[in-house]
Amino acid sequence: MNLVLVAEQTLNGLQLGVMLFLLAAGLTLVFGIMNLVNLAHGALYMVGAYLTTYFYQATGSFVLAVVLGLAGTLVVGIVVELVALRTLYERDHLDQVLATFGLILFFNEMIAILWGRTAIYSTLPSYLAGHVELIGSLRYPLYRLVIIGVGVAVAVLLWFVISRTRLGMLIRAGASNRAMVAALGVDIRLLYTIVFGFGAALAGLAGLLAGPIFSVQPGMGELILIQVFVVIVIGGIGSIRGAFAGALIVGMVDTMGRAFLKPALSTVISPAAGDAAGPALASMLIYLLMAAVLAFRPEGLFPSRGS
């Protein structure tokens, strides 16, 4: 186990972490403020990835594709909110889970109709495609560094919006007492739509960033969505801070587990044990982590003060 490998895997973990954060932030905001369990959040991630890939192939400009992809996901998110989800806010979680489960089926099939069931591959513009020489002999893909940078920038921006602006103030107020905010004359429905659109755009951003490194295919959203659930359960549902901490923890633990659990088990117990239990244990690791966190802190690491 050498240092370069450890450094590389740390960066990989960080990159997965910020990606999870982009998704978790929207999901946890929507839950914290509208009390809505949105399983279709992963579908918006998929929409972002598809739209950007499509626009990049159509226009040839990556920047333009990113802008159009983000705007497109925002529009899709707002339409979904207006058409289907708006009536669900007052329902119980069971109805929300089922209705958004129906939306997932709808979106996955819609994407399959438009772009087919097989994965499509998205490429990178040449200025993002290379490797960067970091300390020592560590060469790391530039694009993955860009993802980390974008993720951290979004986290800072979110922190600023939520703790320093009027919109953020309304969001925080809405999370702690919706009825009171509405009574004070704030258009709560508009606020809901804004927050949902905002969350959708973040999911779309995660999707478009993921496009060039994961395969873009129907159902891609659900693979990552369940990890995002683990993130927000660990972090504490409704808390942005918790989402950030949870995302980094899950990203690190998952990446490290996949990279080092098998060799570690091989040396500590036996190569056979490492081969047999390593991959299985690595894919179960974050769920075991979640169970451990919940056993000690049933509300997650950073319970939101709102509810």
Binding site: G102, L105, F106, V233, P279, L294
Partner: protein, 302 residues
Amino acid sequence: MPPVAALLHEPFYLDLLRRVMIFAIAAISLNLILGYGGMVSFGHAAYLGIGAYAVGVLSHHGIDNGWLQWGVAIGASALVALAIGSISVRTSGIYFIMITLAFTQMLYYLGVSIAEYGGDDGMRLNVRSQFSGLIDLNDPTAFYYLVFAILVSFLYLTHRLVNSRFGLVLQAVRSNEARTRAIGYSPYPYRLAAFVISGAMCGLAGALLANQTAFLTPEFMNWTRSGELMFMVILGGIASTAGPLLGAAALLLLEDALQGWSLLPKWVNEHWQLYLGIILVLVVLFARRGLAGLLPGKERND
């Protein structure tokens, strides 16, 4: 039913009905905790998978004794439900939904990563469970009646269970946890017991499903399967005895019709999930009492 199917020379319908009944058994078990216990388990497919794997794994190692296989299916499901339940039952609301989902996903990945038992591809069941000449599962009609008998006994069992003292406490916890505590009941053991019973029942459904398809894959534990089970319960009518049966029948027949009914246009057959998704959203938004609400009977008020 079997005589009718034989008359029509359509063994396919027998197969479909058996499938409906097996899923009805799973949905009945889910209804016990979802409907009567108020616990929204989004991971019930886990026990379908465990039941199926119990049969498959034992068969893989040459043990075809049905009593043993099905006993292990029920026992292993109960044990896993005890482990998952002891953590998740302490939480409620959205935490409960997400935790049950996450644990099921964990088992799903476990199934995917064990190459010995087929990994991603799953494995074939070479021999169906053997009941030493008592009943032959290779005979479609005999198998049909066996599933039917289990279904009826489970319907009766849950009916008795939810109207027993235990069931009443469980429903009291669902309606008002604070009051139930106040009159001297601790909710935790009741909820956990219901969770374990439900898991064990669903494990048997999994064992039946493995015999039905003679094939098993981690897909049995896929989270969409859990969603379908929940939808069966809701569609049929939550917390009603016949609801899960109606829901399972309605959903599976609807799926079958959308996929294979040649009267529908081809683009419906091909992209049936799109329409299923829309129907699901509409049912949740507009048909709140489910199919059982259409049946005559006493009104529930809660």
